[in-house]
């Protein structure tokens, strides 16, 4: 027997009208539904205080869907993490791109414990994937190149390369007026000869 297609909105409306007519609560609470969606955390799914005993640790691990061996809370130094698990600082870039995640964009499965800084580690933001070359090699190459170029520019200033020609000769006392010289003052006489 295949179920007949029903209009779920209509079913919902009918049930709501029946609950209203039963008259359980009064005022606004009579109109509201008595149940919540499954997407939010349940009351005992929220983080709690720092776990001290092994029992508390096991309960916390179970709450966050982790194995007891994997569960490690943040150090209890007053920063306010409570029993939230300390996960490795690896961004979502490092996760397998080919695996069929529940949320492919976030590369995360439903119910998986989220890093404290999960919103920082999404694929649009901070990337902790390893660089092709080690950090020290990158630093050496970059600063080595920049240092070498600066050194060569300095050498070029001290020992310039030039064509074996005299400076170009300009008329009118080396263009005294054109270069903004004072028309009242007498400029330095510059005579240019043929050769």
């Amino acid at each position: 027997l295949s179920p007949q297609p029903v209009n779920m909105a209509g079913v919902g409306f009918r049930r709501w009208a029946q609950a209203l007519s039963k008259g359980k609560g009064s005022g606004i609470s009579a109109l509201l539904s008595g149940c919540r969606a499954a997407s939010g955390a349940s009351k005992d799914g929220l983080p709690g205080p720092y776990p001290t005993t092994p029992d508390e640790k096991a309960a916390a691990a179970k709450k966050y869907n982790m194995r007891v061996e994997d569960y490690e809370p943040y150090p209890n130094n007053g920063e306010g993490y409570g029993d939230y698990p300390k996960l490795p600082d690896r961004s979502q870039h490092e996760r397998d791109p080919w695996y069929q995640w529940d949320h492919p964009d976030l590369r995360r499965n439903w119910g998986e414990p989220m890093h404290w800084n999960f919103d920082m580690f999404i694929r649009n933001r901070v990337d902790t994937s390893p660089s092709p070359v080690s950090w020290s090699t990158m630093c050496k190459q970059l600063f080595g190149f920049i240092g070498f170029m600066l050194f060569m520019f300095y050498v070029g200033e001290k020992i310039p390369a030039y064509q074996p020609v005299a400076p170009k000769q300009y008329p009118y006392n080396n263009l005294y007026l054109e270069r903004g010289g004072d028309p009242e003052k007498q400029p330095e006489e510059v005579k240019n000869y043929e050769i």
């Binding site: 074996p164 020609v165 005299a166 000769q169 009118y172 054109e178 005579k191 240019n192 050769i195």
Partner: protein, 122 residues
């Protein structure tokens, strides 16, 4: 001229004229008489043509002729070959004069060095 300039740059550091320094010898030295360079285009003409400073040299009159020719013959951009050649030749001669000035300075430096060496030997 036509020397091996790299070798000279390294071995003759004392006598090669330095582009940063002014040339120290009297322009008339060694010449019985020397003509002054003649500037044909006036300052007013160059101002009206709005020539940039680098182009206000001793070849400006040819450049002004070329600009006039180009403006008169637009859109025929192939028209002003003769004027362009005149300007280019003038600039070429100017560059050759610069090379000669450099070489003169260099030879005078060498001569000065020789004279000083003789004076010391004597």
């Amino acid at each position: 001229m036509g020397a091996h300039l790299g070798r000279r740059y390294v071995t003759e550091t004392g006598t090669e004229p330095d582009p940063a320094r002014k040339y120290e010898f009297d322009p008339q030295f060694g010449f019985p008489e020397r003509n002054e360079r003649e500037m044909v285009a006036s300052q007013e003409q160059m101002n009206l043509a709005q020539l940039p400073l680098e182009q206000r040299d001793y070849c400006a009159q040819y450049l002004l002729k070329l600009m006039k020719c180009k403006r008169d013959n637009w859109p025929n951009f192939l028209a002003c070959k003769h004027e362009r050649h005149d300007w280019d030749y003038c600039e070429h001669q100017d560059y050759v004069m610069r090379m000669k000035e450099y070489e003169r300075e260099r030879r005078l430096q060498l001569r000065k060095k020789r004279v000083e060496a003789q004076a010391e030997a004597a």
